[in-house]
Subunit: 213 residues, 4 copies
C-alpha cells in the first residue's frame, strides 16, 4: 500500500533541555542481555558503549536517568505474559539485574514494570510529571516490543520522545527497521546516537532520521 | 539478531465463545478509507467483504460488535497527534463516518478514541468488562499503528486477542508482516479470516498462523 | 481521633489563570436535578444562579468550560454501577440533559463519563493536557460522590483543584461538611463562590476556606 | 438534603470465596501509626488485634494477602502530595515499615503506592487480575483518605469491595461515619469485623451494615 509518511508533519523540532528531559534505558537486564540469561538477545554487548555515551552525556548535563526493569512477581496464579512468553525476569533472581557494563549510579531512578510498556501499571508517568519532565530519550531492548510499547504510551501521555536508533536492538532486522519507521512517522523522533550526543554537546539542532519504507 | 520466537509458548489455544468475545473494527472511516478522505489508505476497499463476513458471522453467533472511531475534538490548543500527523477525523465532519459498505447495525457499540489505541482515554475497557468480555477479535486499519496499539493495550489489560491478518491493512508490506509477527509472538494470536470463520462455524479449533521472520 | 489538619501545608496558594484553568460542572443533569428525574436531589435549583455566576465569569475571562455528563450505555450485561444504584442517566434518554437553567454554550466541552469520577474511562485528562490546563475549578452534584471522585483523580493526575463550596450539594449536611473537609486538607482548595468570583475579577489572592472538624 | 440511600439497590449480596478474594491492608505503617512517626494517628494500636484476626482468618482460608505501603521517592523536584501534606513515608526510611504488631508473612504481597489510592500508578489491578481476584476486603488507615480512595478505584475497576468498619480509623468521628456511609451506599459493602469473621468461618451469609445518615 501507499506511503503514509507523506502525511507526517515535517516541522517537528525537538530540543533536549536538561531540566525537562529524562533518559529511559529499557530492559538492559541479565535475562535479556547475558548469554546465561533466560531469554538472551545475541549481540546486546555492542549496545553498551553507545548507551554509556548517551547516559554519561545526559547525566553530565543534569538530566534525570531512569532504568526500566522488567520484573515479574513469582507465584501468580496466571501471569498473563507467561501465557505468551517463556518465564523470565522473576523478582528475587539475578535475571532482573541491570548489566554491570552499564553506568548505573545510585541516584538514578529505577522503575519496575510487569508488562512490555514501562507505563502500564507503574509510577513512571506520575514520577516524570512530579519531576517536571516533558521529553524522553528512550532506548534499550527490544526495539519492537518493550522499547516500542513504552514509546507508544509516552506519546499517548503527552511526552516528546527521541529514540536513538543504534542504542536499540530488535529481535530481527525487519523488526528494527519497521518499528523505527513507525516511531518516526507516528510517535516521536528517531536519530543516530552520535547526533543526539552532538545536540547535547551544544553543536546545533538535533539531526532527525528520515523514515524510509 | 536471533529468533525470539523460540521462546514463545506454543501451547496457547484460543476458543472464541459468543458470550465472552467481542469483535472490534478499528478506524474503517471515511478519512482513512475513502479516496476523498483526509488520509486515505489506497486499497482499503478489498477489506470490506472480508470484514463483513467476520462481522456477520460473529453477530449471528451473538457476539458483541464494537466500532472504534478515531475522532478528534476541534479547537484544542495543541492536539498532540496533530504535531505528528496531518489533521484528520475531526468531530462534526464526515471524516469520522464508518464506511457505508460495512455492515454496521444500530445496536452495535461505538467507541470514540482520541489516540491510536482504542483503550487510551476511552470507556472501552470498562464497557468490555461490564459486558463480561475476555476475548477480542481485532481488525481494521492500519495494522501497524491503530490496530497494533489497540492490541498492545488489550493484552496488557488481560484480554485474549485474535487478529485476522487479511482483515487488516498496514501502511506497507514490511509493516504488515512485522506487526503481525510481533503480535503473534508477544501479544496474541494471528489467523487467516477464513480460519476464524471456520472456527466460528464449529469446524474445530482455531488454526493459528505461524510467525515467520 | 486527632486532627490531621495540623499536618496540612498552610502555604498552598492557587492563582486562577485564564489560559491554564478549566471549569468542570459535574452532573447537573435532569435525572439528578429535576423533580421528575430518576434520582433527584431536592434543592438543586438553589445552585443554578451560583453556578451561572461562576461559569459566566470564567467564560468572560477566556477559561475552558467543561460539562461532565454521567451517561450509561443501555443494554450492558452487567453495569457495575447499577448493582449499587437504581438505574439512571441512560444514553438516549432526557435524563442525561444538562439542566436548561444553566448557561451552557455550543462551544463548551462535554465529557461523557460512566463512573462517578469524570477521569475514569474518559478523555478528560488527555483533553485537558492537550488544552494546556493545569488547574481546575470543580463543582456540581453530589459533593460526596461524583464531585469528590473527580477531585481525587484530578489531584492524582497533577492538577491544582479549587472547589467552590456553595456551588456543590451533597446527599446530606454531614456528607457536605466531611467531603469539603477532606478535599481542603488532602486534595485541593475549598473557597466560597463569591471569593472565587472576587479573585477572577482581579480583587486579590483567592481567599481560602479553613477546614474545620 | 434528602436521602439518596432510598435509591440504593438492597439486593447486593457478597460472598467471600477464598480463591477469588484478596485482603488489602492499607498504610499500617510506622509514619502513620507509631507515636514517633511523621504523621501519627493516635489510637491506631486498637486496630491491631482486629486486623490480625481478619488477616489470619483470611490466610487460613487461602486468600491472597496484600499490604499497601505508601512510599515516596526522595529527591523529586515537586512531589505533588507534599504540596498538600507534610513530608512522610520516604523510601529508605523506617517510616514505610509495616507495624511489627501485625501478622505480615514473607509470602504476602506488597504494593508500593505514591498517592492515596492503592490503584493509582501501581501494579495492583494487573496483579489482582493475574491472580484471578474479583473481590476485595479493604481496611487500614485512614478511612476517609487512603482506604476510601482505594475503595473508589476498586469499585471503578470492577471489584466487589467489603470494608470491615472497625478495622479502619479515620481522622475524626464525622469522617469515619461519612466515608463509611458513602462506601456503603455507592462503592461496596460495609460490615463489622466480627460478621466478616463469622462469614469466613462458614456461619452463613455476610451480615451487612445498614448505612445511616
Amino acid at each position: 500500500m501507499d506511503d503514509f509518511s507523506a502525511y507526517t508533519q515535517s516541522t517537528q523540532q525537538v530540543s533536549l533541555k536538561s531540566g525537562t528531559t529524562a533518559v529511559l534505558i529499557v530492559d538492559m537486564l541479565h535475562d535479556f542481555c547475558d548469554p546465561a540469561g533466560a531469554m538472551c538477545l545475541p549481540g546486546a554487548e555492542r549496545l553498551y558503549p553507545i548507551q554509556n555515551d548517551l547516559i554519561q552525556s545526559a547525566r553530565a548535563s543534569g538530566m534525570m536517568i531512569g532504568w526500566i526493569v522488567d520484573a515479574h512477581r513469582p507465584g501468580l496464579r496466571r501471569d498473563r505474559e507467561f501465557l505468551k512468553r517463556a518465564q523470565h525476569c522473576l523478582e528475587g533472581t539475578s535475571g532482573i539485574n541491570v548489566m554491570p557494563q552499564l553506568d548505573k549510579q545510585n541516584d538514578d531512578f529505577v522503575f519496575i514494570k510487569r508488562r512490555y510498556s514501562a507505563f502500564f501499571g507503574t509510577d513512571l508517568d506520575l514520577t516524570l510529571k512530579d519531576n517536571l519532565i516533558d521529553t524522553l530519550i528512550v532506548f534499550g531492548v527490544v526495539t519492537n516490543i518493550c522499547v516500542r510499547s513504552t514509546v507508544h504510551d509516552a506519546f499517548f501521555n503527552g511526552y516528546q520522545v527521541v529514540v536513538p536508533s543504534d542504542a536499540c536492538a530488535a529481535t530481527g532486522p525487519r523488526e528494527q527497521e519497521s518499528s523505527l519507521y513507525d516511531i518516526a512517522t507516528h510517535f516521536g523522533v528517531v536519530a543516530e546516537s552520535q547526533d543526539v550526543l552532538d545536540h547535547l554537546a551544544g553543536k546545533g539542532p538535533l539531526k532527525i532520521w528520515e523514515p524510509k519504507e
